[in-house]
């Protein structure tokens, strides 16, 4: 199973069109390996992105540098997946 230890899901709030465009720039940076769960749309609508552990610092620095607000929606993706697996195994047992 692929491991998602340390991956976080950030909820980004782009306040205006310029910030939406900035997040779209982020989307184009393939080396960050970002996984947009909810892509950039219009100002005011949330953007959710899974960020692999090695990219977290870069992404947060980028957002903060452009004054784009965000919160951590999922602190550690793998811990949620572990819970999910445990539930499935518990039922099977």
């Amino acid at each position: 199973l692929e491991n998602f230890v340390g991956h976080q899901v950030l909820r980004i709030s782009a306040a205006d069109e310029a910030q939406v465009q900035k997040v779209k720039e982020l989307e184009d940076l393939e080396h960050l390996q970002l996984d947009f769960w909810r892509g950039p749309a219009q100002p005011g609508s949330s953007i959710d992105v899974r960020v692999p552990f090695p990219s977290i610092q870069a992404v947060k620095v980028f957002l903060e540098a452009h004054a784009i607000s965000y919160s951590i929606m999922i602190e550690d993706v793998q811990s949620l997946l572990d819970e999910e697996q445990e539930q499935m195994f518990a039922f099977q047992g």
Binding site: L1, R11, D35, W37, P40, A41, D48, M73, I74, Q87
Partner: protein
């Protein structure tokens, strides 16, 4: 493992094999109402099944519901399983479902992307696309919700095989999509088409590729309002509704733009729970509440389709 659909645990997530076993049990328990059709095979050779709920007749007006075209959206396949059981329970008991099935058939594809779903269980829980290979690229998979022959290749999808919204080389390149296309065309009498995704709590109608309102916008919008009202009445879950383009973002080559272009007026897509706390990793404890509330919206739409023949 469950021995019947009564002992099947609807409140946990299941593997592809378990869901396929569930389908066989449901058919065996309800031979007069439910049958299982194989509409194709996946890229990796798995069968693609659709449950048909019918009380008779030949190619009656029908409603199509699919769940799980994006494999990681597990609450959708789980809800689809619950819907299947609910239909069998309500037929003969609930006046609306009984009336719908007395006049129409319901087709339910619980696992629309079986390869992707199996992959989410075996290798990568967050896999979203199909598992097809693209010549000349090391990246795998196509977004099956950008692969339909509706403004295919226009903005709102990616031409890069390494992205999550990769549209594929050509429309219907994905057998999982082509199988539905062939089925819908061959049937020729599908009047409502509902494609179910998660998450973000939306009920959407065409178009996704353009912000031009569709010709039936007023009616579709009013029906969406009624469906969302019914949904919210159970647990207070807040939904937004509108066209794909205006409510979320431009999405070309999507499912319901194609079904609408085929003359299926009542074409909708859902985005089920959640509010943003878990995303695709919705805890299993929320499966049944999600399915229950969504069911109310589905019945509202299906009832309207039955009452407004065209």
């Amino acid at each position: 493992r469950a021995r019947s659909t009564n002992t099947f645990n609807y409140a946990i997530y299941h593997t592809l094999d378990e869901i396929y076993e569930f389908m066989d049990m449901l058919v065996a328990e309800n031979p007069q109402l439910v049958s299982k059709l194989q509409i194709g095979n996946t890229y990796e050779g798995r069968p693609i099944y659709v449950l048909k709920f019918s009380t008779g007749g030949n190619k009656r007006p029908a409603i199509w519901i699919d769940t799980g075209i994006h494999s990681r959206e597990w609450v959708t396949q789980a809800s689809g399983t619950w819907f299947a059981k609910k239909i069998t329970e309500d037929y003969g008991q609930d006046p609306k479902i009984t009336a719908i099935l007395s006049n129409m058939d319901i087709f339910l594809e619980i696992v629309t992307n079986p390869d992707g779903f199996a992959f989410t269980h075996s290798t990568n829980r967050l896999w979203r696309k199909t598992r097809s290979r693209t010549a000349g690229s090391s990246c795998i998979g196509v977004d099956p919700n950008r692969n339909w022959d509706a403004a295919f290749g226009m903005p709102g999808a990616s031409g890069n095989p390494c992205t999550e919204t990769y549209r594929g080389k050509y429309a219907n390149s994905e057998t999982e999509v082509k199988s539905i296309v062939d089925f819908v065309k061959d049937h020729g009498n599908i009047k409502g088409f509902i494609s179910i995704h998660s998450y973000s709590q939306l009920l959407l109608y065409p178009y996704g590729y353009t912000n031009t309102p569709n010709p039936d916008q007023q009616e579709l919008d009013q029906l969406a309002k009624e469906a969302v009202t019914a949904l919210s009445s159970l647990h207070g879950t807040k939904y937004t509704y509108g066209s794909i383009y205006t409510t979320i973002y431009q999405a070309s080559g999507n499912t319901i733009d194609w079904t609408y272009s085929q003359g299926i007026k009542y074409s909708y897509t859902f985005e089920l729970r959640d509010t943003g706390r878990y995303g695709f990793l919705l805890p299993a404890s929320q499966i049944i509440p999600t399915a229950q509330e969504t069911w109310l919206a589905l019945v509202t739409i299906m009832d309207h389709v039955k009452n407004h023949p065209y």
